[in-house]
Structure formats: C-alpha cells, structure tokens
C-alpha cells in the first residue's frame, strides 16, 4: 500500500508527555510515553526551542542565532534530523541527502553543542544488579532480562535458542 507523502510543514517542537528540565545551557527531556531520555546540547536546545511550527529551517536557525546560539541553515537541518529521529519535533521533513552531508556531519560532530544524546530509560529489573537464576529460568524467552545471573555473574539471563524460557548462559 502506498502511503501519501507527508506535506512538509515547518518544524514544531513536540511537548506532549514530556518532562523538560534545563540544566545550565543543556536541556533534559524525558518522554513519558516512550520511556526515553534525551540530553540536548546548548545549540540543539536553542534550535528545539525555536521550532514553533511557523518558522522554516532557515528562520529556525536565525531565531536560534538571535538567542545566542550561532548556527547556520545546514547545521540547523542536521540538528532537526536528530530531533526528528528522537521524536522531539514534528512536521519537519528533511531534504534528500546531498554529497556534502558527510563533511557536514564531520563538522557537526566536532561541535558538541549540536549533540542530541538519547537513551532508553531502564526498567527497575534492568537497573538492578542481577537476576537470580531461578527467576531467569521462569521468564518467557521474549522477556529475558539480559542481566548477569546473581549466582554466577559471568553468565547472563538470555534467550536460549528456540526454548520457551530464558536461561543463564
């Protein structure tokens, strides 16, 4: 089934179900729905804040620059790609990759302020120390903890081939 192409709209910062905290020049975002945390570097944070759904990419870069974060259009587009992947902006459709993008990425990587660092937040069991062996073998193989087994931490509670339950391997 062919889906209709999205109509490109100016980028809009997503705010629903998010907890946002500013720490100095960085912004921490916690997505309550997807249980993902994001840390936006200073420039990325300025660009995200400038996404009001009315400004095009160039205008977003300009607005971010007025707020003290000196970024140009290509750098803003790169950050918007990352924010889009993190599901922190909607409406933005990136332009097709151009041959200079690799060089741009290299430049951007050098500028830490453009970073959008994301991670999935752990469940209580994932953040715990280990999984007892007896509990591991009772887990269905789709829910293996992947943690070290308490009795023998060199082994991990993982899926065992096609078996229906996990095991310490």
């Amino acid at each position: 089934v062919r889906r209709p192409l999205d109509t490109a709209r100016p980028p809009l910062a997503v705010r629903d179900d998010l907890i946002v905290r500013e720490i100095d020049s960085e912004v921490l975002v916690y997505d309550r729905k997807r249980h993902r945390a994001h840390c936006l570097g200073p420039l990325a944070a300025a660009i995200w804040k400038a996404c009001d759904g009315t400004r095009a990419v160039a205008a977003v870069a300009e607005a971010a620059s007025r707020a003290g974060a000196l970024v140009d259009g290509p750098a803003a587009e790169l950050v918007l790609r990352r924010l889009r992947r993190a599901r922190l902006v909607s409406g933005f459709r990136p332009s097709p990759p151009d041959p200079h993008r690799r060089a741009l990425l290299r430049q951007a990587a050098a500028a830490a302020g453009l970073a959008v660092f994301s991670m999935a937040s752990p469940t209580a069991l994932q953040a715990a120390s280990c999984t007892p062996g007896g509990q591991c073998v009772a887990m269905p193989n789709s829910q293996c903890s992947g943690l070290p087994c308490c009795e023998s931490p060199a082994r991990r509670c993982t899926k065992q081939g096609n078996a229906s339950r996990c095991d310490c391997n």
């Binding site: 960085e26 209580a124 953040a127 073998v137 023998s152």
Partner: protein
Amino acid sequence: MGSGHFYDATVRTDLPLPSVRVPPTPCLDKLNRVSWTAGVYVRAYGCTIGIRTTDAAVLPAIVQHLPTGARTSAPRGTDHLVSWVVGSDADSRLRRFHILYAGAQRLVRTFDPNEVLRVLAHHVELAVAEMAVGRLFLHAGVVGWKGRALVIPGPSHSGKSSLVAALLAQGATYYSDEYAVLDSSGQVRPYPRALHLRDRGELGEAVPAATLGARTGRTPLPVGLVAMARYHEGSTWEPRALSPGRAVMALLANSISIRKKPARTLATLECVARGAVTLEGTRGEAPATAARLLETLERIPEVTP
C-alpha cells in the same frame, strides 16, 4: 515442607492475610482462591509489602531474608503482594513445586525452597527500591570521605564492590555497595548491607563492613564526586568530566524508579549533578583507582546549595 526445618525464629502466624490495593484481575482472582494460611507485612522506606504463604512454617525464613532497612509491621494496606505456594519436601513421594508470585506474575517455580528465598529476597529489595517514598535508589556503591560522598554507579560485574572495599581499606566510611539512597535534596543516606565481594566472577560470602575494619556511615552526606568507573584489565584511571546534563543521563541509566517516578527522579538527579563533579572512564586495579578518587574528591571545592 511442614517440618519447619529452615529456622527456629518465632514469627506470629495469626495475622490477617495480606491483600493488595489494586483492581483484581482474572489471574489475581485465581491466585486469591489458593488456600493461604499465613502472611507477614514488611515495611521499608515508606512502602508496605505483603507476603502470604500456604505454609506458616516458612515465615521465619522469609523474615530472615528481608532486605536492609526492612522490618515486619502490623497489618495494613499493602503496596505490593508476594505469594509463595509452598511445595513438598525433596524426600516426599509426591513432589510438588514451590511457586513464587509477585502480584499475579510468576517469579520462580522450583523444588528448592532456598532458591525461592533467594528470589524472594532479591524481589523484595528491588520492589522497595522502586516504590520507596521520598527516596531515590540508584544502583551504585557509596563511601563517605571527609564529610562528602563518593558515588560509584554501575551495572553488576563492573567492579563496584571491589572498588568500595579498596576505598574502605584507605579509610573511607562505608555507606553501601549496592544502592545510593538519595533524599529529595540530593544527599545520600546509608544503605549498609554486607558487602558482596566476588572471587573469580563467582559470588562469595557477604562480608560486613566492620569485618574489613571500616566504619559505617550514619548521617546523610552531600555528593562530592560521582565516578562512572568501569573495570578494564590493564587500564589506568584517566577519566573525562561530564557536563551536568550528561551526568544526569549517566545517573539515570542506573536509577531504579525512573519509569515509575520520572519527574521526581530527574529533579533529584539534577540536584546531585549540580552539586557534584561527575567523571567517566575505565579503571585498572581497585587500590590505585581508590587512592586517585579520594585525592580528586579532596580537591573538589564544596558547593553551597
């Protein structure tokens, strides 16, 4: 099982059976129809866990396996319910499994009652860490040094306990080798369970800090240094400093309750990140790293809240 061969401790077996304050589900309904005969109420860090069983003889063993800071309490509403269907003795002709449930979810099914106790102890400790009221549990080792805390977050098998033991050997005060218990202002409280040191990857005996000649902390401490130190053979401790935002992310990866209480967790971690220096890197042998960490902590100026 009815022989009561585990322990001789006396525990009241006539308390009303625990139940849980959640809407019943078909699975829980089915479990509720089992012939429960005794129960115990466990209270720790503001939350209550009910444990019920089909055989009162196992209650003393359950009480002996309660986690640090937990104690039995009078009957009250419970936040979480654990159920143990007691099986048969290994030498009986008809063998029945021991089955342990958390809510309606099966945690373990085994013929070995000691395995049930291990899983039960681990589960209750984790449940308390997740549901604690007004406290945030981070998976981390903690020691005190000259009025400030050094926190070493990290996953299991990353060498937290051995680094904590090396720090104690250099005169630090013991707070925990498993959880950093933070209050809402970001100060760390003691969680002084016995250290679980490993010998060639296998879990050894639990060793009380006093056996290592260390003092155990009693008062809350502000966090001065957070060291994300992973053990890597042959490495030397050459860490890089993390920005406050990245420090919160690193701490968050070790937080037990982030999914249950994200706003409060982030606020507490922010307090820690603002007041402390966070370093990340790989480390070599524990004694050399411990000495460098203590030197670093001494050089960090105190932050006034």
